[in-house]
């Protein structure tokens, strides 16, 4: 494209004295907008949980969420060519496998030399889990936040209309994916466990030691979690499975969901603590069908899958 320059600074109408030049005007607009940005940042960063920008976020989410879902739907025929048959049926199969995993871990736990009382508690806990059963709402990942934003989040196409709320556990057939950080009517934003701001309570499969898993920010093949055990004297063994420890009322994480495998253990000479590097089971760059753990009896505009037979 050939371009040439007009005479710089020539204006069709004669400038009145005192009129700002275009450069001045541009500079003023720039200054005003920079101030606006700084105000926004201050408002949003200072006020913590209840940000004054949340209503605006909700409005934008309600417009952009469906747009993202629709775009993802339009592109699905192209992206689905590889695995066309990811259905509810498959997710149910995945649930069965998850349960089998849970049972296997429980068996491992009972053979490990652990405090009998704690085992009884754990047994009771897992029995409660089996009683209540996790109910899942299936959803698809429609958008992924760019790595340039340095926060690892995805949008799923289920929102409050399907019973999805803030602080619910999100998992897929491989293991724990993350938790819901905000939900609009038809979409929800999920913070992945590999985000640097994510902390998950984890438990080693063989000796039930608890610790905290922090994300390290990367999602690709080198996406790892760092496990900081509460008891410094415990050395996690390689390939040990880490499952969620679970929080009160399953908020934000329910118990017993596999997270990953111990890949290596790094001990720092300065501190006496050891850091285990965990390779997550979930492939975060290939997320598609995920399940959101909802309270039993949730009703919404999509089917709720329960642990046993479908409702």
């Amino acid at each position: 494209m050939a371009r040439a320059w007009g005479a710089p600074g020539r204006r069709p109408r004669s400038p009145r004295p005192g009129d700002p030049s275009p450069d001045q005007r541009a500079r003023r607009v720039f200054a005003v907008l920079v101030l606006a940005c700084l105000t926004l940042i201050t408002l949003d960063a200072r006020s913590g949980a209840g940000s004054p920008l949340d209503p605006v976020r909700a409005v934008v989410g309600n417009v952009m969420g469906p747009a993202e879902s629709a775009t993802a739907g339009a592109f699905r025929p192209f992206t689905d060519l590889g695995d066309a048959l990811r259905t509810n049926h498959k997710l149910r199969g995945d649930m069965a496998r998850l349960e089998a995993d849970n049972a296997r871990l429980r068996a491992q736990a009972s053979t490990a030399p652990v405090d009998r009382k704690r085992l009884a508690e754990l047994d009771g806990l897992t029995r409660t889990v089996a009683d209540t059963g996790y109910s899942l709402v299936a959803a698809r990942v429609v958008a992924m936040g760019p790595e340039q934003s340095f926060s690892r989040t995805v949008t799923i196409d289920a929102g409050t209309s399907s019973g999805v709320r803030k602080d619910m556990t999100v998992l897929d057939n491989d293991g724990l994916v993350g938790r819901v950080v905000s939900a609009t009517h038809s979409t929800a934003t999920v913070l992945l466990i590999v985000d640097t701001g994510s902390v998950v309570g984890g438990r080693l499969g063989t000796n039930l030691e608890i610790g905290f898993l922090r994300g390290r920010g990367a999602v690709g093949n080198d996406g790892r979690l760092a496990l900081d055990l509460v008891d410094d004297s415990v050395v996690p063994s390689r390939d040990d499975v880490v499952v969620t420890w679970g929080s009160k009322d399953g908020v934000p994480y329910v118990a017993g969901i596999p997270i990953g495998r111990v890949e290596s253990v790094v001990s720092s000479p300065r501190q006496s603590s050891r850091l285990a590097i965990i390779k997550p089971f979930v492939d975060f760059t290939a997320l598609d069908v995920v399940g959101v753990v909802v309270p039993k009896g949730t009703t919404g505009d999509r089917p709720v899958l329960t642990a046993g037979a479908p409702q």
Binding site: A2, P22, L33, C37, M144, V181
Partner: protein, 179 residues
Amino acid sequence: MTALRGVVLAGLIGVAVVAQVVVFRYFSIEGVVPDLALILVVVAAIDRGPQFATVLGFAAGLLLDLAPPADHVAGRWALAFVVVGFLAGRVRRDAGSSTLTAVLVVGAGSFVGTSLFAFSGLLLHDGSLPVDQMLRVIVTSVLWDLLLAPLLVPVLLLVLSSLRPPGDRSADQRVRVVH
């Protein structure tokens, strides 16, 4: 007509932001996708000058800050894009002369924008990575933008100049397309 232009511009921003998070995640390199919204802002700066580009940058950045997958402090992308739009508008005297220089300005804008965003994250303790990982992300995103810019810049220039009001009285308009 002005309202219609506004709607088309808003639509362009929306398409760029949605494509960035929905379509390009299948082509992402370690999670890094091209900054389509940033390319749009730089092209707007080359075509229409700093004033127009700062306003467009503010709008595009704000949408990127508030649209669903975003979970960072709002206003950070807006700030980065306002600065990029302004700077690109200032250097457009050289940038508009050929597509090649426009592509280079896109690359520079991408570097400045992503770095500013990373830097504001460091200051606010909001989702920051170790510096070496950040640098890798910034370099990857600049390469992505440089890869797409030769395809997008001519198209966006054409679209934006067709959106220009006829007989634009804006004195910012120093660039004239000669066919």
